[in-house]
């Protein structure tokens, strides 16, 4: 099993959830006081998505069969 795939899907999913949550709550100034006024959910959700894709894309492009 190519571990890059589950890791990729997992973080892509997490990132999407976090980013969507961040987008919905983007006008909630009170909530983001904690994170210094930065919408950290939206930003970090994006980071997680990028990381997930970085894991996933090479794994999906890799056509060679795994050794086992």
């Amino acid at each position: 099993m190519d571990l890059r795939k589950p890791i990729g899907y997992f973080f892509l999913l997490l990132g999407l959830i976090l980013a969507v949550f961040g987008f919905i709550t983007k006008d909630d100034v009170e909530m983001y006081k904690l994170s210094l006024g930065i919408n950290i959910n939206l930003i970090w959700g994006g980071v997680l998505c990028v990381f997930g894709l970085l894991m996933l894309i090479p794994a999906l492009l890799d056509k060679s069969t795994p050794e086992k």
Partner: protein, 637 residues
């Protein structure tokens, strides 16, 4: 909450997906040697980066500052390179399935038993301790029921280890590795922003170091760079640095004896490398692990330093809420009850330490330096009201350093990110347990069960045993967790004893691997002697009120850390000496032919694989890593 559930689903799914590969005991207990190097490399580091490490390193970062980085640099990198370049060929090449099994091949059954039994007990206790911490944490932070948290988390671990064996533990560790990095990085980023960047943090910490009393970090001034230097402050002497260690203890005790003893002989980490798919992948495992290892201090030690910086300023630059280092809880009634005693002391001329001793008769966990400040204020203003004084006493409680990391998570994480950070924490606890359980079941099945209780059974039988003992291991771990909850002091003693057992171990390995003359009897008695000397050393020296239980105090150490480093150094040297002497006195029981592949001088050198790019050859990559590590040390000198 949703993030948590997804995490659990994914790890269990990995377990089930791997189930169809688990056909023999080797598949289950050693992964059938099939895993690529980047996976084992990250698991190698991750098995060590459990939640206790995360909590503990942030705590040390606050308590001792940047010197804590030595545990990641001198205390790991050299040893990991040594494992890759010199030792891995024997572990992997000998076809041993565990570290004790290697000892059996090189020496005999006695050495193997000593190592395997102590290791097996240690792993279940370690996982018990960490599960206890987890359940306590979930209870304190989220209000979850202690028993329920313990059993559910253990259940999840059981499910995926039972299905996927070592492979599934290793895969989860990699997932957890990324989870920790990506879960804590935003907290560190926000924290650093709030203290005004690293430059500003450095300035604040220099002020803290010369007046640590207010934060309860010490009762006298340290060198001004005590929190922001790794070496300079150590060369200024044990009184200048909060860790209270000297350069010899650090370099020989930690950097050589303890580091090599842990990274090169502890089956928990070595098992990850042994699961690699071929020799070069096995040798690359520790090298790949070394790269993140060097950088992880940013994630685990820096938060502790940030916490001290924030606490010193009282509040952040952007987040204007006040911040204080977490304290041990003191009940208000008890503090109120202590008011008359404190007033009495304020009238006399007792120093803070004596004052704490006196108040300590009724109130534990008071910090001397902080109480000293309360006394000063009271002397300056004798009319202070009872209520104000009681609050002052309550605030003079000892710092609870283990709470540092959660206090930052709570301060900076809005809902959403909070779920991610908590999941990262939970993940690291569970994978820590899985790591211990997989090491335990391999040792039990191969080195105890197959070796003594039931040799020559079919492989199916051992696979069955491996599965059964996984269940047993987890149940025993749960038992240990309850034990740790009830008898915290007993747990400290047990950990101390394991410290004694581990301290001399590397001497035995070194002599076994690099000298063909070392005899089994010599190795056995050397180990015993080393363990005995560790215990005696601890019984005859005192540090921070610990040790000295043999009745005499031959030496007073400035800190338990320093005592520990010197204990390891002594025990190593004694083990080395005894083994060498006994080697002269006893006959070899194994011929040169029997030791081929087990001893350095008798094993043909591995020719560098010329098809590989030169940069990833172990010797080359290892040297580069060491140079890089030296550069980092110089930057933060």
């Amino acid at each position: 909450m949703a993030i948590l559930l997804i995490y659990v689903l994914v790890v269990v799914a990995i377990g089930f997906a791997l189930k169809r590969y688990m056909k023999s005991s080797t598949d289950f207990l050693t992964s059938g040697r099939s895993i690529p190097a980047w996976v084992t490399g990250l698991a190698f580091i991750s098995a060590n980066l459990g939640a206790l490490e995360l909590v503990g390193m942030a705590a040390s970062g606050a308590k001792y500052g940047m010197m804590t980085c030595h545990f990641y640099w001198i205390g790991a990198i050299l040893a990991m390179v040594f494992l890759a370049v010199f030792m891995m060929p024997f572990y992997y090449g000998s076809k041993a399935r565990s570290v004790p099994e290697y000892l059996n091949m090189r020496f005999d059954g006695r050495v193997r038993t000593l190592n395997s039994v102590s290791f097996a007990i240690m792993t279940v206790f370690a996982s018990g301790i960490s599960m206890n911490e987890l359940a306590k944490l979930l209870n304190a932070l989220l209000g979850w029921n202690y028993d329920l948290s313990l059993w559910i988390c253990s259940g999840v671990v059981l499910l995926y280890v039972l299905k996927g064996g070592l492979t599934s533990a290793i895969y989860t560790e990699v997932l957890q590795f990324f989870m920790i990095i990506l879960g804590f990085a935003p907290v560190v980023w926000l924290g650093l922003k709030d203290v005004g960047g690293y430059g500003a943090l450095e300035g604040t910490l220099k002020q803290v170091a010369v007046a640590p009393q207010a934060l309860g970090l010490g009762d006298k001034a340290y060198a001004s760079n005590a929190w922001v230097s790794t070496w300079d402050v150590m060369f200024q002497g044990t009184a200048a640095n909060p860790m209270g260690v000297d350069w010899f203890g650090m370099m020989f005790g930690l950097g050589f004896v303890l580091a090599f003893g842990y990274w090169c002989t502890n089956f928990l980490v070595v098992q990850r490398a042994m699961a690699a798919k071929n020799m070069s992948a096995a040798r690359r495992t520790p090298l790949i692990g070394a790269i993140p290892k060097m950088l992880i201090p940013v994630l685990v030690i820096l938060p502790g330093m940030i916490a001290v910086g924030l606490a010193s300023a009282g509040k952040g630059k952007i987040n204007q809420e006040t911040y204080e280092l977490p304290r041990k809880e003191l009940a208000m009634e008890k503090c109120a009850a202590a008011v008359p005693v404190v007033r009495e002391i304020a009238k006399s001329n007792l120093g803070p330490n004596k004052a704490v001793a006196k108040v300590g008769e009724q109130l534990k966990d008071l910090n001397a330096a902080k109480l000293g400040i309360v006394l000063q204020e009271l002397r300056a203003n004798p009319d202070m009201g009872d209520e104000q004084l009681a609050t002052g006493i309550q605030r003079a409680a000892e710092n609870d350093y283990s709470g540092v990391i959660f206090s930052l998570v709570k301060r900076f994480c809005p809902p959403g990110l909070l779920g991610l950070a908590l999941t990262a924490l939970l993940a690291s606890f569970m994978s820590g347990m899985a790591g211990n359980v997989t090491a335990f079941n391999a040792i039990w099945t191969y080195d105890i069960y197959q070796a003594y209780l039931a040799p020559n059974k079919s492989d199916d039988h051992y696979l069955w045993m491996g599965r059964a003992i996984t269940v047993v291991g987890i149940v025993v771990s749960i038992g240990c967790a309850y034990f740790a909850k009830m008898y915290n002091n007993a747990m400290d003693v047990i950990q101390l004893v394991f410290g004694f057992v581990n301290a001399p171990l590397f001497a035995t390995f070194m002599l076994g691997m690099f000298s063909r003359r070392t005899t089994p009897t010599a190795a056995f008695y050397g180990l015993f002697g080393g363990i005995g000397v560790s215990a005696m050393f601890h019984g005859l020296t005192v540090a921070e009120g610990k040790g000295g239980w043999l009745g005499a105090n031959l030496h007073q150490f400035p800190s338990t850390m320093s005592q520990n480093f010197w204990l390891a150094s002594f025990s190593f040297i004694i083990c080395l000496a005894i083994t060498l002497i006994f080697t002269q006195l006893t006959k070899r029981s194994k011929s040169d032919e029997q030791l081929v592949g087990l001893v350095y001088s008798l094993t043909p050198k591995i020719e560098p694989d010329l098809t590989e790019p030169w940069i990833i050859r172990p010797a080359v990559a290892g040297t580069l890593l060491i140079i890089l590590c030296i550069i980092i040390n110089l930057i933060f000198w």
